[in-house]
Amino acid sequence: MKLLTLVPVFNEWPHLLPVLQNLRIHFPEILVIDDGSDDKSYLNLLKKEGFEYLDLPFNLGHWGAIQAGFRYALAKEFDGVITFDGDGQHLPEGALRIIPGLQEGYDVVIGKDNDRGGWSRKFCRGILNRLSGLDVSDFTSGLRGYSRAAMKRLIHGSFLNLDYQDLGVLFMARKKGLQLTEIPVNMEIRKGEKSKVFPNVASVMRYLFITLTFIIARRL
């Protein structure tokens, strides 16, 4: 099975190279996707180190960057991709555990870490999970595997409206008849820095609002 590992990067240079070098031990095919970072000079360094990258001229958001990776993987005829965060939160060992799921024929394989996040996050996750009717416990996990069939579906139409690689993607994927599964993995606690997606309370509120609107509009 020919797999490509997608690493979307937006302004998180310091830990990236060691993470990538660690990842390369297990995954020879890596594609870094620069999601319109302010300083792109690190791409030259990646090139020197022999890493492939995709250069987005401006910021599309996490999910938009991953979709670009899908398009590349489809063009290069990969059988599937694994999405991997470049901030050191995900471990290559976790990514390895995604592979069997894809081999078994699942379209979307989610690496779940239920210990992740504080009580407020777990609380929100529980409520959103209940409301959406989606039986996925860790839908914010960025460590996922996608089959070729899933990628073909997930780059079109309403999937372009989504901002985050989370509940929305899974909800719509299930609606399209794709097979989802969850696999427990261990994740590292972020190295002393805050989440890129949720740097402050306002961004969390915004996320909750967007996700709630999404669910309500589709479940009514």
Partner: protein, 155 residues
């Protein structure tokens, strides 16, 4: 004191003129001028024949006719505004898709170029400046990269 008909007439004419000017300068496409001409038309017609408004107010049971005018005006603006939001959402999706495609194509072109340069010529040939970036210039920033690489779009 001038007649209110002149005031509204000027107002309506101003709307028409501004729209025409914007279309002429290419700031507004012809197809979007239509609704604005319609709004200008309504201003002119209601300005010259305010009786129409009174009649509509009586028919709809609104006792104070100007209030009806405001309700209609706000309603029309709301609909237009909503339309703009829909338009913006659509455009965002299109831009996103295009950007993703462009990034992937850029990458594939770069890979092909690299294949060609590695397959064909020596390093001296590669430095000769025959290979130009996608934007048609030999970007000095990309000097330390393979010449076959497309120039960075954002730089």
């Amino acid at each position: 004191m001038i007649s209110y008909k002149i005031t509204t007439g000027i107002l309506g004419a101003a709307i028409f003129l501004i729209i025409l000017l914007l279309v002429r300068r290419g700031k507004l496409q012809e197809k979007y001028a239509l609704t604005w001409f319609a709004i200008g038309m309504v201003v002119v017609v209601l300005g010259i024949f305010p009786v129409i408004l009174d009649k509509i107010a009586k028919f709809t049971g609104v006792s104070y006719a100007p209030a009806l005018l405001f309700v209609i005006a706000v309603g029309v603006l709301l609909i237009q505004n909503l339309y703009l939001f829909i338009f913006a959402s659509q455009n965002e999706v299109r831009i996103k898709e295009l950007l993703q495609e462009v990034a992937v194509l850029n990458k594939l072109v770069a890979e092909l170029r690299e294949e060609v340069t590695f397959g064909a010529e020596s390093t001296g040939e590669k430095r000769s400046g025959k290979h130009v970036g996608l934007n048609g210039t030999n970007d000095p920033v990309s000097d330390d990269q393979e010449p076959g690489l497309p120039a960075n779009i954002s730089s």
